[in-house]
């Protein structure tokens, strides 16, 4: 076990690389879910309140 932890003298490099990777992956999951939750909440709050004022967009074909 100790031998495994020491990583043949590369412990600092190997563990920090895996640690940072883990951190970035978890942070990305958190950010993606937070982003999703933010706009779901906004959609719930705003609902169709502005829909009547929104003009349909027509693109002119030239």
């Amino acid at each position: 076990m100790m031998e495994f932890m020491l990583m043949g003298g590369y412990a600092g490099y190997v563990w920090s690389a895996y640690g940072i990777t883990m951190l970035v992956l978890v942070a990305n999951v958190w950010m993606a879910y937070r982003f999703h939750a933010k706009w779901l909440k906004r959609a719930q709050e705003e609902g169709m309140t502005k829909v009547s004022t929104r003009q349909p967009r027509v693109r002119r074909i030239s």
Binding site: V14, I20, N28, A32
Partner: protein
């Protein structure tokens, strides 16, 4: 003669049916409710696949794979470095190709997908640079080398992702942001082959390709298998978060429409 004509008609009919199906499918991809539902359906599958493969690949890379004869246990960084570098490039290709589709066919959902891929790609590129630096220190004696072709082209990839996001943020009009940022994304594709061939075209500290080359991979099976498992795991992870972000992006764009309103009411009811 009649036999040939009969079969010819059958072939043409089959093609036209396939063609109609293809275009129906293509148009469904332009429909926000359809894409939203599709992303919601595939998301948990990607999530499950990602977790299983990432755990298995990490175990394989740290425990099962033998130590390298030259780099000892230090080479194990490959199992996080290569998948993140590959994923940064995959994310770029997803971003650029969907931005191009959005630009050509004026498909808002394709732009939405491009927007969703950008932050993920940026993060994986950062990860590739950081893990590469950590790997470089014991093997090359330095974390970073300016004027190294591989390192510079990878840094360029990060700047392309950041540039795409900053450019988008500078427009108030979303349609305009979609179109202008798509041009940047497509032009930046030129950097992808540069990253790949940088280790062959220029002298660099970075080692040559290990897997993606015409020759046999220069790595033994017991080292290669965990790497492939990690690559699948990272890809599934990207698919998972891409779906989640795409759903968020659709809600952001469509939040004042009838179908989103119906969706929320149906959810809370």
């Amino acid at each position: 003669m009649a036999f040939i004509r009969h079969n010819l008609v059958r072939i043409v009919n089959t093609i036209s049916v396939l063609n109609t199906n293809f275009w129906r499918w293509f148009h469904q991809l332009a429909s926000p409710p359809h894409v939203f539902a599709l992303a919601g359906r595939v998301c948990p599958w990607f999530a499950g696949l990602a977790i299983i493969f990432l755990v298995a690949g990490t175990y394989g890379g740290l425990v099962l794979a033998p130590a390298d004869y030259l780099q000892g246990d230090g080479f194990r960084i490959i199992y996080v470095h290569v998948p993140s570098a590959y994923l940064g490039m995959l994310a770029y290709m997803v971003m650029a190709s969907s931005a191009a589709i959005g630009f050509i066919w004026r498909m808002k959902m394709a732009h939405g997908l491009a927007v969703s891929a950008a932050p993920l790609g940026a993060w994986f590129t950062v990860l590739a640079l950081v893990t590469g630096g950590i790997w470089g220190k014991p093997m090359w004696g330095t974390y970073w080398q300016w004027a190294d072709a591989r390192l510079m082209s990878e840094l360029m990839l990060l700047f392309l992702f950041l540039g795409y996001m900053v450019l988008r943020a500078s427009f108030d009009d979303r349609d305009k942001a979609d179109r202008i940022s798509a041009i940047l994304a497509v032009v930046g594709v030129i950097n992808i082959p540069i990253i790949h061939y940088s280790v062959e075209w220029w002298s660099t500290l970075h080692q040559g390709p290990t897997i993606a080359k015409l020759d046999e991979p220069s790595i033994t099976m017991d080292m290669l298998i965990p790497l492939l498992i990690m690559i699948i795991g990272f890809t599934a992870f990207f698919g998972w978060l891409l779906c989640k972000r795409l759903q968020g992006e659709i809600l952001k764009r469509e939040r004042q429409t009838r179908w989103v309103d119906g969706l929320i009411k149906g959810r809370t009811a």
